[in-house]
């Protein structure tokens, strides 16, 4: 071994080329391939058993309209889980963002322009989400509280705050229809393609870049894998984890705005139904509950499987009672598959 450093590039001109080999490819991308397999197998089953429903485009536009509400949040949640943490408070953050939204909208009535008021309110919602996320991160990092416990606490706290601040009242948001944000967030391109689907794709791409091509993502993987190694190598593990919590707070508030705009109405229970489907999307997508591994693509597919099962069970001719049973079966089987594939890799 001789002593050379990066300045010395001339020693050899060997270039590393990624040669494609099926066995290696299958090993590296095992979980994603498994996930794609599950995805297409289920799809095929749906088509065969309910061809009228699953061969027409209407059902897919319906999926693209409703699935993004929780799929959007599953993207940053994937990062939090890869970092070895969990966030259970995002449904309350959705609602709290909307409280900030309506508070700012109502207190800016000196401004004559609805679009500007809605824009300010929108920014306030995102800000509130990021701040609540930051608080989650601070509780976990500075006080060393396990995130599972900390975010159960903040989940109740912020839901409570929503109820206290709104006195439990629901109200209409019909005024947003006069704002340019309304078509931008929940409009339909060509009368068919819902804008929330475009936002989901955008957030998924940005999430992929952040996780795979940015320092933050690299450090998220390292922290989830071995937090002690990351610290010894000079990674600021606290700041990275706080940023991950801020990110899900921000996106949860965004999802809250999108979901409320969709119905132009605010319910103080906003977000309540999304906790388990968002978590299920992440774990179904192959992200390890122990941290260190996981992919955006897996979560994306996972969200669509979760979202499609309900419609599929009904279309296939089973009663709605079957939905949860099938959910459970698919989640458990997929997680077993992922664990098995991961063991094969080692």
């Amino acid at each position: 071994m001789s002593f050379q450093t990066k300045a010395d590039n001339s020693a050899t001109n060997q270039v590393y080329k990624e040669t494609f080999r099926l066995s290696r490819f299958a090993r590296t991308y095992g979980t994603q391939l498994g996930m794609l397999g599950v995805f297409f197998a289920l799809w095929l089953i749906f088509i065969v058993s309910a061809p009228n429903t699953f061969l027409s485009s209407r059902i897919y536009f319906a999926f693209m309209s409703t699935i993004p509400f929780f799929a959007i949040m599953a993207i940053p949640l994937t990062m939090v889980v890869i970092a070895g943490e969990i966030d259970l408070s995002f449904p309350s953050i959705m609602a709290m963002g909307m409280v900030a939204f309506s508070f700012v909208y109502n207190s800016t009535n000196i401004i004559d322009n609805v679009s500007i008021r809605v824009l300010l309110a929108f920014i306030a919602a995102l800000l509130a989400g990021a701040i609540i996320g930051w608080l989650n991160g601070v509780i976990v990092v500075w006080f060393g509280i396990p995130s599972l416990v900390a975010t159960i606490g903040t989940q109740f706290f912020w839901r409570g705050a929503v109820l206290v601040l709104t006195q439990g009242a629901n109200f209409t948001l019909s005024y947003i229809k006069g704002s340019f944000l309304y078509p931008a967030l929940v409009g339909k391109i060509g009368g068919y393609l819902p804008m929330q689907m475009i936002w989901l794709i955008l957030i998924a791409i940005l999430g992929w870049i952040l996780l795979n091509r940015h320092k933050l993502g690299a450090h998220i993987y390292l922290i989830g894998d071995n937090v002690h190694s990351a610290e010894l190598m000079g990674v600021n593990t606290g700041i990275v984890r706080i940023r991950a919590f801020m990110l899900i707070g921000l996106i949860a508030a965004f999802a809250g705005v999108v979901a409320s705009f969709h119905v132009a109405y605010f319910w103080p229970s906003l977000g309540d139904g999304y906790l388990l489907s968002t978590l299920a999307s992440v774990f179904l997508g192959g992200t390890s509950v122990f941290g260190g591994t996981g992919t955006i693509l897996g979560t994306f597919l996972g969200a669509f499987i979760i979202g499609a099962i309900e419609a599929a069970t009904v279309a296939v001719g089973l009663t709605g009672f079957w939905t949860q049973l099938i959910y459970g079966l698919i989640i458990v089987l997929s997680v077993i598959m992922h664990t098995y594939l991961r063991k094969r890799v080692e």
């Binding site: 071994m1 001789s2 050379q4 690299a218 993987y221 894998d225």
Partner: protein
């Protein structure tokens, strides 16, 4: 005096436990110092202060004669300190290239990771220094699948890649085969030849004696004494070590 690294009156306590007490330590230019001491003597705490991982409770740290306050891991790395930790500090589920650049990822002009460049560098380091010749190992391989010696190779090559001036090796021979240990010894002599400095920590007196210019004996959080290896025979050093372990005193 212009030392590469100097600690003056450094103490460190963890709550009630006094891990280090008034340590005065110097590392010269182009010098290899061996740190010897029993388990729990404070060797690991001492080096973690030099790498910025622990902050001393009191005392001063000097690099090249300049006093450095609040030494952190990134700051120590900027000053040219590289460490091969006892626990190796690897992320075993991650690929080889991610481990080589752990905490110091290369970035392109858009601020995004330069993944291709990191894979190329990893491949070069692998084939030139790590002795990975098997085609099964490539920059995308997961480090968790490597043997103990291979993992140690990754930790060492990582320390070398970033223009280190001071290389700290904490129990580097632990879990290594005889052949791998011989390779490691040669590696430390190469550090010396390249004009760099090193601190070498090991349980095995023989390993240290063979490569170090000077041996510093740590006992119960204090420096018990030091010897130039050229002035003392291996047998004598061993006797002294046993005496320190029994009495806490060299004389």
């Amino acid at each position: 005096m212009d030392y590469r690294l100097e600690l003056r009156n450094v103490s460190k306590s963890f709550g009630e436990v006094q891990a280090l007490e008034n340590i005065n330590f110097q590392l010269g230019r182009n010098e290899v110092v061996g740190l010897l001491g029993d388990n729990g003597a404070g060797k690991s705490t001492l080096i973690k202060i030099m790498t910025g991982y622990h902050q001393p409770t009191s005392g001063e740290i000097f690099f090249n004669g300049q006093r450095v306050d609040h030494l952190t891991v990134p700051a120590a790395r900027k000053l040219g300190v590289e460490t091969v930790y006892q626990e190796r500090a690897l992320a075993e589920l991650q690929s080889l290239w991610r481990n080589i650049f752990l905490g110091r990822e290369l970035r392109n002009r858009w601020g995004l990771l330069d993944v291709n460049q990191m894979k190329q560098e990893t491949y070069r380091l692998m084939s030139q220094y790590m002795g990975f010749t098997s085609s099964a190992v490539n920059p995308n391989s997961r480090v968790g699948t490597f043997s103990g010696g291979e993992k140690q190779g990754v930790a060492i090559v990582r320390a070398l890649y970033f223009d280190a001036e001071i290389i700290i090796l904490d129990e580097p021979t632990m879990g290594l085969s005889l052949k791998e240990t011989a390779k490691l010894t040669k590696f430390v002599t190469d550090i010396k030849k390249a004009g760099k400095s090193a601190i070498f920590i090991d349980h095995n007196i023989l390993h240290v004696y063979n490569v170090a210019d000077r041996v510093v004996v740590v006992d119960r959080g204090r420096i018990a004494g030091q010897f130039m290896t050229k002035d003392i025979s291996l047998d004598k050093l061993m006797d002294k070590m046993v005496q320190v372990a029994e009495t806490g005193n060299l004389d």
